[in-house]
Symmetry: C2
Subunit: 147 residues, 2 copies
DNA sequence: GGAAAAAAGGATCGGTAAATCCGGTGAAGA
DNA sequence: TCTTCACCGGATTTACCGATCCTTTTTTCC
């Protein structure tokens, strides 16, 4: 709804790398763990490497590593790199070409909502993502309290 | 961002028909007024006709007409017919396949925002759309107050 | 009945996102 | 040095959405 598939994979891969900070991770490893198509993911990791978010190493013991601090990378940042953020800044409800002739009727009403989404993406960093994942995993793995 | 192009056209066409309630409108007329591709629009109007939102008539004096009351048709309703609303009801941030293994981390945090969007679409009907369009047109046509 | 008008609907096209394939490059280790 | 491993990157395939074309069907009006 907000991202492309590519961007979604990027976020999930980066979250994985943030959770395994300090260790080199193989594309294959990430693809398996996160159930993403390997070749597609490889492309994405290449992009993120070119963008200096990741370092990469070839050969045995190779793999990818997060270069920046997880709290320094927001979802907004990632979306900007992969998809662009124009859709967040421009016309709201998705009714394109809003001008005086064919105005986008609910533009003004929707604006605050759109701003909220934007702020949300800016404030959600990879740290939040890893924390949320950890919490989820804990809940998922823990046996039922009363059982 | 929230709708497909097809859905956007549907909303705009339905808004046009709501503003011209009681009169039969040609696909061509709507396409011209709203600057939408005629053939594509025709398909959409056919769909809406099959879904019983519109009545259609062939031949001279033919055209399309809104069957239901504008206040009875919400944007949510339209989106449901054209795009489906799974993306609003299911996983939030757009991180698909969220389960215990690969949870969609910010699902819970994003939920209220998503609920707001959903409510917004449910509460915005064609009546609101026509009112908003009328307001916009009035502003656009009125000469500057102090001029 | 014939001509024109307009919707119905099948077939097709084009572009972009998603996904895949494969040869190339460089690093590690025996 | 040779082999293996893993990333690099160009080329290609697939799928889907947006858009268009064209034929058929139905209706109106002369």
């Amino acid at each position: 709804m907000i991202y492309s598939k590519e961007c979604e994979y990027a976020i999930r891969a980066l979250t994985y790398l943030a959770r395994h900070r300090g260790k080199r991770c193989l594309a294959k490893e990430i693809a398996n763990a996160e159930e993403m198509p390997l070749y597609f993911l490889s492309k994405i990791l290449q992009t993120l490497t070119r963008q200096k978010l990741l370092s990469s190493a070839k050969g045995p013991n190779g793999g990818f590593q997060l270069l920046k601090a997880p709290e320094a990378i927001s979802l907004y940042h990632i979306k900007k790199l992969i998809d662009g953020v124009e859709d967040l800044d421009e016309c709201a409800v998705g009714l394109a070409r809003c001008n005086s002739q064919t105005p986008c009727p609910l533009h003004d009403e929707f604006k605050p909502l759109r701003e909220k989404i934007k702020r949300y993406l800016q404030e959600s960093t990879l740290s939040e993502m890893t924390r949320a994942v950890d919490r989820k995993k804990r809940i998922a793995l823990k046996p039922k309290p009363q059982a």
